[in-house]
């Protein structure tokens, strides 16, 4: 008798979990439910290669569309789950159908944080979260189009870089005094600010969006200093919030994310959760975190697959991330604290350097720009909790392996 595993959310976590479980298809019957019309796909290209039109739609799919049926996975797209009945172990779907489960996995991800200003609902205001978003942006983002981007984080800056390459006139409006301020140290922010300005991006710091103007559609943005920026397109990339309503309504423990343990189990033994929507303990970091990353989505999904296959092991991965902007490939690992020591290795003007983060001599993070070996080494050190001499680390005459 196979166990019915229902996965709610067909993003990177949900898709990965289905793929993993399908390898033991005699053991599991798998239903994968997604709200969007598309099979599981990669979101990172939405603000990069897919935005630029460098990769076709199907290239973003985690697996070919036919894969799911071939593997016996019941993929239900365009479907919402409206309620969980934990006692009956069943779900209510948007069409009114009831679906029972033996084990449930919530991979509900995040939704975009909406910009709370006048004009936010005008046509021409877009977020970058889904294939549909990026396709809509692509219809307007022609050469010479004026684009105003609210938010100088990864998404905003990646989109800015892609749109500049497409010949758009791009303005980025960032509230903080530096870009990517939540994620990277000041030398990295300053380097990226200079890189964007050199590519012709009009980058405004310590500036907010006061209003999006226009009658039938957005035509301009008024910033917090009262300046008006004409816009054919307004993009908003000011963060995301975890989708926890379904879990909350079912009485599962949440706290800015669905709370899970080191095996991705929620407060209900029959319900697991993975990906951006979870708050989970990470032994390497020594604290609970909620991560917005492909790596965590995949690794936590694997954690569930292992647990369901009696190969369970505690989740303990060094978080890692990447961001492509222009010709700059930034690879990041760890989750450094804002007051960690910052060590710059290499010369930013060469467009190939790294920044390490240390706490009491231990490596807590690395941002490597166009220098893959520093990233790999840094990630390893973070996992090992290794002490590193900051003077040797800053000396590029010492190969990274010998630091």
């Amino acid at each position: 008798m196979s166990e019915h595993i229902v996965i709610v959310g067909a993003g990177h976590a949900g898709g990965t979990l289905a793929v993993q479980l399908a390898r033991a298809k005699d053991r599991f019957r798998i239903t994968l439910i997604g709200e969007e019309a598309w099979p599981p796909y990669e979101r990172p290209p939405l603000s990069k290669q897919f935005l630029m039109g460098d990769v076709p739609l199907e290239k973003t799919f985690l697996r070919p569309e036919t894969f799911y049926a071939d593997k016996g996975i019941d993929l239900r797209l365009g479907t919402q789950v409206t309620a969980i009945d934990r006692t009956a172990r069943s779900l209510t779907l948007s069409g009114g159908e009831t679906l029972s489960y033996d084990k449930l996995a919530l991979c509900t991800g995040t939704r975009v944080r909406e910009i709370p200003v006048v004009g936010r609902d005008l046509p021409g205001v877009h977020y970058i979260r889904t294939i549909d978003d990026t396709q809509a942006i692509r219809t307007v983002a022609r050469e010479g189009a004026k684009v105003v981007i609210a938010g100088g984080g990864y998404i905003g800056l990646e989109a800015a870089a892609a749109l500049r390459k497409m010949g758009c006139e791009v303005t980025v409006i960032e509230m903080m005094d530096r870009v990517m301020a939540r994620a990277v140290a000041e030398p990295v922010s300053r380097f990226y600010e200079a890189a964007h300005r050199a590519e012709g991006v009009n980058l405004l710091l310590e500036t907010g969006v006061a209003e999006i103007g226009g009658t039938d559609r957005a035509t301009h943005v008024v910033d917090s200093h009262g300046h008006l920026h004409p816009a054919d397109l307004v993009l908003v990339g000011i963060g995301v919030v975890p989708v926890v309503e379904l879990a909350e309504a079912a009485g599962l423990a949440t706290d800015d994310g669905i709370i899970v343990d080191s095996r991705a189990r929620t407060s209900d033994p029959d319900i697991f959760a993975a990906g951006d929507c979870t708050r989970h303990p990470n032994r390497i970091l020594g604290r609970d975190v909620r991560l917005e990353s492909v790596q965590n989505a995949v690794d936590q999904a694997r954690c569930i697959a292992n647990e369901l296959s009696d190969k369970g092991a505690d989740y303990a991965e060094v978080p890692w991330f990447w961001s492509d902007q222009f010709d700059l490939k930034m690879q990041m690992a760890g989750l450094p604290a804002p007051d960690d020591q910052v060590v710059v290795r290499g010369e930013p003007s060469t467009r190939s350097f790294s920044v390490f983060y240390l706490r009491d001599g231990r490596v807590t993070g690395v941002n490597a720009i166009n220098v893959g070996s520093d990233y790999v080494r840094g990630r390893k050190w973070i996992g090992e909790g290794r002490d590193v001499d900051s003077v040797r680390l800053a000396n590029t005459e010492i190969p990274i392996k010998e630091v």
Partner: protein, 104 residues
């Protein structure tokens, strides 16, 4: 169709009818061989790591520095290591032989 001879992590060898014009990684991933390819082929991770059979080494374009930097620091690195996302499958690679690297 060109074929790829693949040894999986369990040591079992199978032959895959491959598609030209896409990467070796996409061929492996789409046919459920054990490569995660977490970054989707943008050469940002090393989760599509394979060992290329010695006889095929010279038939491949050498790795770019970013691929080399990533793969050579993998604990499972060997001189025959490559990231399969960086190898485009072509008809000329018909018969390519590779082994999926163990999980790092």
């Amino acid at each position: 169709m060109p074929v790829i001879h693949i040894t999986n992590r369990a040591g079992t060898e199978t032959t895959l009818e491959a598609e030209s014009g896409i990467s070796v990684m996409e061929n492996l991933r789409d046919n459920d061989y054990e490569v995660d390819a977490i970054c989707g082929g943008s050469c940002a991770c090393a989760t599509c790591h394979v060992y290329i059979d010695a006889a095929w080494q010279s038939k491949l374009a050498p790795p770019e520095p970013d691929e080399q930097g990533l793969v050579e620091d993998e604990p499972t690195f060997k001189p025959t290591s490559r990231l399969s996302c960086q190898i485009e499958m072509t008809d000329a690679l018909d018969g390519l032989k590779l082994t999926i690297a163990p999980e790092a």
